[in-house]
């Protein structure tokens, strides 16, 4: 039994290829059915986001399954395989496990540490479960992927700080003000980054937005968008005392806001601090303002410096995360390996139980008149001998298998003449589902 992962992501494939391969949510059930039938698979799931399209499956023959899945993809999307074959990556076994754990932990994301991917993976898994396309292995695989992601998030600071300029501005504001909900944001000039930052501020509770622009109509439009007020450009200096957070991005060649504008505003607002964010180049706000008590000024370079440091920090944290992932991959592949011995252990137990049962029957028949209680005793004894005798070898087999050592399994099969190996390694998903109930007690 093998786990495989096959797909494209933002690094391996340009958007033209990704968009052709992507599955709409409502197309996934049909795709699961189609691919499962085409490749003769028991377990399969599809993860389709704007940055990646991936298939995870369990199979007996990875290479053959790969070809069938590629053909299936090509058929489903009506796209010649040659169009995307070079962009595809394909992982099997431990590599596949590592890949999926890294995806779940957001180590493979475009912006490392952004948490959306975990939710998308959970949705994809839920869809597969809903369509009964998962079995014991994929179930356990996904749950381990989720717990690994959680482990990475809690044990490292990978999603700790803002990695966009507009979000960094919000984080700073939250360290200057105790509470953003009663604060007023003013936009001076219009720019994409300003708008984005304003939106971030609104989602973090800011309710009052003032907008000013040399073109008043533009200010009115933008104000309407934020449910705020437009202010005449000539008048905005007089309104500075109302402003807690000011975002500036005009095309002005000289400083628009200077300390002499801020000093009276500060006094009027009883020295409550003002956070100035200057996104314009050339700058709109005199840098000397930052020296004033109660004024905090960040220009675009400052914010980008913050973001760069945060990204650096994320990458450092990502290194620690990789170590955590590696440990989890080892644990999970150990479990996968241990699956391989389960059929052997089953057969061994069946053999021993059969012999014990036959001998008990013979003995009881030979002894003649026995009370039911005495019969029970003899049966219990035989059972106990079997269990105690098998306990050590079974434990050993499992341990060795978890470390990837299959030699003892072969030895045991030869020694006990176990032949019933027809379906061994064929479809352990099936196997396991039938067996789980009886294998747990001796674990």
């Amino acid at each position: 039994m093998h786990i495989i992962a096959l797909g494209v992501n933002h690094r391996s494939a340009p958007v033209e290829v990704r968009e052709c391969l992507a599955f709409a949510d409502n197309a996934v059930p049909a795709a699961i059915e189609g691919l499962r039938a085409a490749a003769g698979l028991h377990e399969i799931m599809i993860l389709s986001t704007c940055n990646r399209v991936e298939l995870y499956a369990t199979c007996a023959d990875p290479e053959a399954t790969r070809e069938k899945l590629v053909a299936g993809l090509s058929g489903f999307h009506n796209l010649p395989a040659a169009r995307f074959a070079d962009n595809l990556y394909f992982f099997r076994d431990a590599e596949a496990v590592r890949h999926v754990f890294r995806v779940a932990a957001s180590l493979d994301s475009m912006v490392v540490g952004e948490p959306q991917i975990l939710g998308q993976l959970k949705d994809a898994y839920a869809l597969a479960v809903e369509h009964e396309a998962t079995g014991q292995v994929l179930n356990k695989f996904m749950h381990r992927a989720f717990s690994t992601a959680k482990l990475v998030r809690t044990q490292t600071n990978i999603a700790g700080s803002a990695v966009s300029v507009s979000y960094a501005a919000v984080e700073l504001a939250r360290k200057i003000f105790a509470d953003l909900t009663d604060k007023t944001v003013m936009l001076v000039g219009a720019g994409e980054m300003c708008e984005l930052a304003a939106r971030h501020f609104i989602t973090h509770g800011v309710r009052r937005v003032l907008v000013t622009n040399r073109t008043h109509a533009r200010a009115r439009d933008l104000a309407a968008e934020f449910d705020g007020h437009a202010i005449a450009f000539g008048d905005f200096h007089n309104q500075l005392d109302r402003v807690d957070i000011l975002l500036s991005s005009t095309g002005s060649p000289t400083y628009l806001i200077r300390p002499e504008h801020l000093a009276p505003a500060l006094k009027k607002r009883r020295y409550r601090p003002i956070f100035l964010i200057d996104i314009a180049v050339p700058r709109d706000i005199d840098p000397a303002a930052n020296e004033m008590d109660g004024i905090f000024l960040y220009d675009v370079d400052d914010l980008q410096g913050v973001v760069a440091e945060n990204i650096d920090q994320r990458l450092q944290e990502a290194e620690r995360a990789e170590e955590l992932v590696a440990l989890e991959v080892d644990k999970f592949t150990g479990w996968l390996e241990s699956l391989k011995v389960t059929p052997t252990i089953k057969e061994l137990r069946r053999l021993a139980a059969g012999i014990a049962g036959a001998e008990v029957e013979k003995t009881i028949a030979g002894l003649g008149d026995l009370s039911p209680r005495q019969c029970k005793k003899i049966e219990a004894m035989a059972g106990a001998i079997v269990n105690k005798l098998l306990h050590a070898p079974v434990t050993r087999l499992k341990e060795e298998a978890e470390h990837g050592n299959q030699v003892p399994v072969e030895v045991v099969r030869q020694l006990f003449n176990l032949k019933n190996s027809g379906d061994r390694n064929q479809n352990p998903g099936d196997h396991q589902q039938r067996e789980t109930g009886s294998t747990t007690p001796d674990a």
């Binding site: 003000f177 105790a178 020295y271 601090p273 440091e309």
Partner: protein
């Protein structure tokens, strides 16, 4: 009897030291476990210290604030209590890093000059005396918290202005929050300080026959009071806050410490403790 007091006080010191170390840990790295350890250590220290205070009180059959040793110990007890109150209510355990060192130093000092119970001089036996002492120490301790918050404010403000917004920056509370807490602790500490001075003067009239005799300690406590009065006035009527308020709260507490200890060590007057 004497040894059970020493043991309790030593135990309190030990807990304070652990709490202080945990507080420093929080400066270095945020951790819920460290912050819980800090709180637990401070609570344990406070309880042991309070028990010691009671034992000493029973032994001397009076409020144990007669000698320098007893005064220091009482002040440290209030410091721990005020810190705990502010920190637990507002979940700002990192504040401990700025206040607990003082608690540790004062408790250690008290332990180093520990002396057996002595009969109180008659001048200290008055109803006003315990009121004066308790109110003053409660006020001083609360204003020590204001001072700790002031230091924290200046640190965070500097980090933001210098654009060093990682590490410690993320672990300190927002400037707005620090300033709020600073205002609250000032509004509690200042009335206590005022009441402490008034009850002291009433006591003086009973003990020495005059409300105010301009001995150095009285003069200095008046100077301190004016500093804090100015700060509170500035905050309420002009809207002073932020850096200016933080600096003043630090200066004010320096004046308190000088009034409390410096005057006794450097100048002479009526207020000298029994041990000097």
């Amino acid at each position: 009897m004497h040894s059970s007091y020493t043991i309790l006080l030593t135990l309190a010191l030990l807990c304070y030291v652990i709490g202080m170390a945990a507080g420093f840990g929080l400066i270095w790295q945020a951790s819920r476990r460290t912050s819980r350890l800090e709180n637990a250590a401070l609570i344990a220290g406070f309880v042991a210290h309070a028990a010691a205070f009671v034992v000493r009180g029973v032994q001397s059959d009076a409020l144990p604030v007669a000698s320098l040793h007893e005064s220091l110990s009482c002040f440290a007890l209030f410091l721990a209590g005020c810190y705990l109150w502010v920190s637990l209510r507002n979940r700002v355990s990192i504040l401990g890093a700025f206040i607990n060192p003082l608690t540790v130093i004062i408790t250690l000092w008290a332990l180093l000059i520990i002396r057996p119970v002595e009969p109180h001089p008659p001048v200290l036996k008055s109803l006003w005396m315990p009121l004066h002492v308790l109110l003053s120490f409660a006020g001083h301790a609360m204003l020590a918290v204001t001072c700790g918050l002031g230091i924290m404010y200046l640190l965070q403000e500097r980090l933001i202005k210098r654009k060093k917004v990682k590490g410690l920056f993320t672990r300190l509370p927002s400037l707005g929050k620090i300033d709020q807490l600073s205002y609250i602790s000032l509004s509690i500490g200042f009335p206590l300080l005022t009441l402490g001075i008034i009850t002291g003067s009433l006591w003086a009239s009973v003990a020495w026959g005059a409300y105010w005799s301009w001995d150095p300690k009285e003069t200095w406590s008046l100077i301190t009071w004016f500093l804090y009065a100015a700060l509170l006035h500035g905050r309420i009527s002009v809207g002073w806050r932020g850096r200016r308020a933080a600096v003043l709260s630090i200066v004010g507490f320096a004046a308190i410490m000088f009034t409390f200890l410096g005057v006794n060590l450097l100048l002479t007057g009526l207020h000298t403790y029994g041990s000097f």
